[in-house]
Amino acid sequence: MSGSEWTDPRPMSPHLQVWKWHWTMAASIFHRVTGVGNYIGAFLVSAWVIAIAAGPETYATVEGIMLHPVGQILLFFWLASVLFHLVNGIRHMLWDGPKVGFDPKVASGWSVFNFAISILAAATIWSLATNLF
């Protein structure tokens, strides 16, 4: 990141590299990574919404970007990113609210499930959207 001079004198939390990798850690990191990814992807989806109001010519330009292979790859990763953030976000709510799923084995298994379901759901939704419609 661009903040090279750390001016805050308070202690920092341990760095990423001192932790042993495990699934709950990966899910936590990916929750933040996908959150930032969703933010960036929202620019493309916003452009699409604005293009509908702007008229057929602008819409054709944006549609061209979205249907281009690069646009399609970005949209697929954005879909997977949104789905992971959604299912992992629901897990965060269950941690915060009813406080379930803290057992390490359950938490690890749940993390693997969240990764698997978001990729599977993205592939399923993508194939349904492109083949059925």
Partner: protein, 130 residues
Amino acid sequence: MSTNFETPTAAARGLGSAKSGTEHYIRQRVSAIALVFLVPWFLYAVIAASRSGYDGAVAFLSAPWNAILMILTLGAAFYHMRLGMQTVIEDYIGKAGMKQTLLILNTFVTLGLFAATALSVLKIWISAGA
């Protein structure tokens, strides 16, 4: 006779929270609860609206319920995005000037995108003459 040697600053610092410490956390969760329902609809909406070109997209957003749900989704999503990106900036950007600049930019970008997209949805719905 008072035996409290605390300075006024130390006394003030010892007062604890200014009653807004959980505000960000609660707002993040409330917008998340809304998005649990809105995001699945939104994914369906983008697919349904984009499958038949420009006319199909206009027709989709001309339906009042679609326009209402789209504006609600945009509002909840941009709000949630602003809170989330705020935390990321606060966590990783230590340099004061850069941090403040990015925090302000984050607010401007999310509010600007909400205004532009919500106005677009309204324009499509109003133009449809419902």
